[in-house]
Symmetry: C2
Subunit: 361 residues, 2 copies
């Protein structure tokens, strides 16, 4: 399963589909078998020969199980009686590809071990279908790691709305700009580069019309070009560029330039924004500001993850990152759970998640 998780991570973080990895192991007779049913979370007792492996490379390409079966065929390996170790329960529906459960049965696989059950209403039922065909199914192996890897996708599928990451870039005292509006640069180049890597992993970036008109951002995901130290180029994947608000987008706005598709949502309602994006199969939204939009998402309880870049700078006054959440007393504060604290150049990055996230689903 450790290998399957490793393979899964090679898939793209963006896109409508989950990142899944699959390893086909030699028959159980060559090793020890787990009983049908649930597996202890951390156990991985499969010291058996690896026959083939595969992972999902994004919407429109084969699922991990199909990729592993294709790998076996390419190697000329017989998978009859094999164990398929897969990070997510094999699907039972026909989408752009056929049901993986059927493909595994057809290939003669005798056992399927998966980390996480499929919550997708249209794809679930794989385990049932496998058992009906006489395949032994073990679930929950390294489930915590599987859940962590699929966190964004699982949250989005279970809830039916995109996973929301809010990005802020502030001074140590919580400002995004000085009193006169100047803000270049509060955080440093390393933090900006990191933020661009995050942009290249999400499906959509959202800003309000206020930010659009003030900062004129391009909202593209850029990466440093390898051939020139200072040059940048567009990343391979460009997220949707979503502008929220009732004001118009100027014809000369940089957001109309090269990059992801531009979407203007004529609403100020957070719920409506998320529904419209869910319709487009957006799983992961990055909210980049400004303060009005950030505050609206926070007030709506719609922020799943917070990326706070904090610069070693004090302003004492200016434009705040978040403005008025209606919190009067400390017990009502919006409290997140820290996932990671790291130094990015001269800045700090604090990644935290909704405190109640563990209870989702």
């Amino acid at each position: 399963m450790a290998r399957a998780l490793e393979l899964a991570e090679r898939g793209p973080a963006y896109g409508p589909n989950p990142r899944v990895g699959c390893v086909l192991l030699g028959p159980a007779s060559q090793g020890r078998a787990l009983p049908d049913g649930a597996a202890p979370d951390s156990l991985d007792p499969y010291p058996r020969p690896v026959l083939a492996e595969g992972y999902h490379q994004g919407a429109g390409t084969p699922h991990a199980e199909a990729a592993a079966l294709a790998d076996a065929r390419a190697r000329g390996v017989d998978v009859t009686g094999a164990t398929a170790v897969v990070t997510l329960e094999p699907c039972a529906h026909t989408g752009r590809t056929g049901p993986c459960a059927d493909a595994l049965v057809a290939a003669g696989v005798a056992e399927v071990v998966h980390a996480v059950a499929d919550p997708n209403p249209v794809a679930t039922g794989g385990a049932h279908r496998l058992r009906a065909a006489g395949v032994r199914v073990v679930r929950g192996l390294r489930a915590a790691e599987g859940e962590e890897l699929l966190r964004v996708w699982l949250t989005s599928v279970r809830r039916g709305t995109p996973y929301v990451t809010l990005k802020t870039a502030t001074t140590l005292d919580g400002y995004v700009a000085a009193e006169d509006g100047t803000s270049r640069w509060i955080t440093g180049p390393a933090a900006r580069e990191h933020a661009h890597r995050v942009r290249a992993e999400v499906d959509a970036i959202v800003v309000g019309t206020g930010t659009l008109l003030t900062d004129d951002p391009a909202l593209t995901a850029r990466v440093r070009a390898h051939d020139a130290a200072s040059a940048e180029r567009l990343a391979e994947h460009q997220p949707l560029r979503v502008v929220v608000g009732l004001r118009g987008i100027p014809p000369t706005a940089r957001v109309r330039g090269e990059g992801g598709e531009l979407v203007h949502l004529l609403t100020r309602d957070v719920g409506q924004v998320l529904e419209r994006l869910a319709e487009r199969e957006v799983r992961h939204v990055l909210v980049e500001g400004g303060p009005t939009l950030a505050t609206a998402f926070l007030a709506a309880g719609a922020v799943d993850e917070l990326h706070a870049y904090v610069a070693p700078v004090l302003l004492g006054s200016g434009r705040r990152a978040v403005d008025g959440l209606g919190v009067a007393t400390i017990a009502d504060a919006h409290r997140f759970r820290t996932v990671e604290v790291r130094r990015v150049g001269d800045d700090a990055l604090v990644v935290s998640r909704k405190s109640t996230e563990g209870r989702v689903g």
Copy 2:
């Protein structure tokens, strides 16, 4: 010198005296000698036998050189022709102990290698006195590491006023309390424990009368007792408890309880506070708040180091850590240089220093 620096660190971080370590090495004939004068910063070419070593354990105890010579006597080792490797230039004055330069000469030491020159006006001149007695003197070996270790003491001695560390404990959006004044707890127990360890390393803690009257802090350095998981006891070293401001200290204030000496400075002037503390041989001051005092120290440009504990919490409004620095545009922001970013429990700790600090002295 690496060993000498290691020894130096064993000394107390608080107190009027610098942390110094000294290693006595076998005569130069047994190894390679450096030419008299300056040494390259990173070189440490002394693969010679260690005869003895010592470090300074705080005011009133022997200096590192004296401790190392005593160690040699205790071991019955002859140090004639030896090299003394010491983190700070040996002193040339008689204080609570005699001049180390003379003691080294009397012991027959042939060579002295030190990392940092002594800037203390009453103690400097050791190298001159040694050379006059025919001792070879090499300076600047691992000077950068020596400067870092002695940073607080060197800054304080060179400038004549204490090194100032400002501590803040805020939400990600820069608040120390909610609108109704509630603040327990914004940062978590690990951050508080860490802050107490810092208190035990400084000479004085300073708060304003506002904080004293609002929070009634004890201003003691407490450590977790080893015998009980939840119990705390006072740390061995207790910093001065300094209250700044014109209002009185209530007779029942916790700051009057067990702990360091209580000092009430009837002023609001930062310069006066620092002068009064310098008179008491305070080298390191920890400013703990509240916002008025923190802002005053920042506005005066008197903050050398910033310890910002940041909790994964958003309030959107409330009482700010710093309030009004008179900064109108981003170019005038108070910018620090990050030294360390680390996770402390569920909070982040960002340690930064004055950007111009490298230019001090």
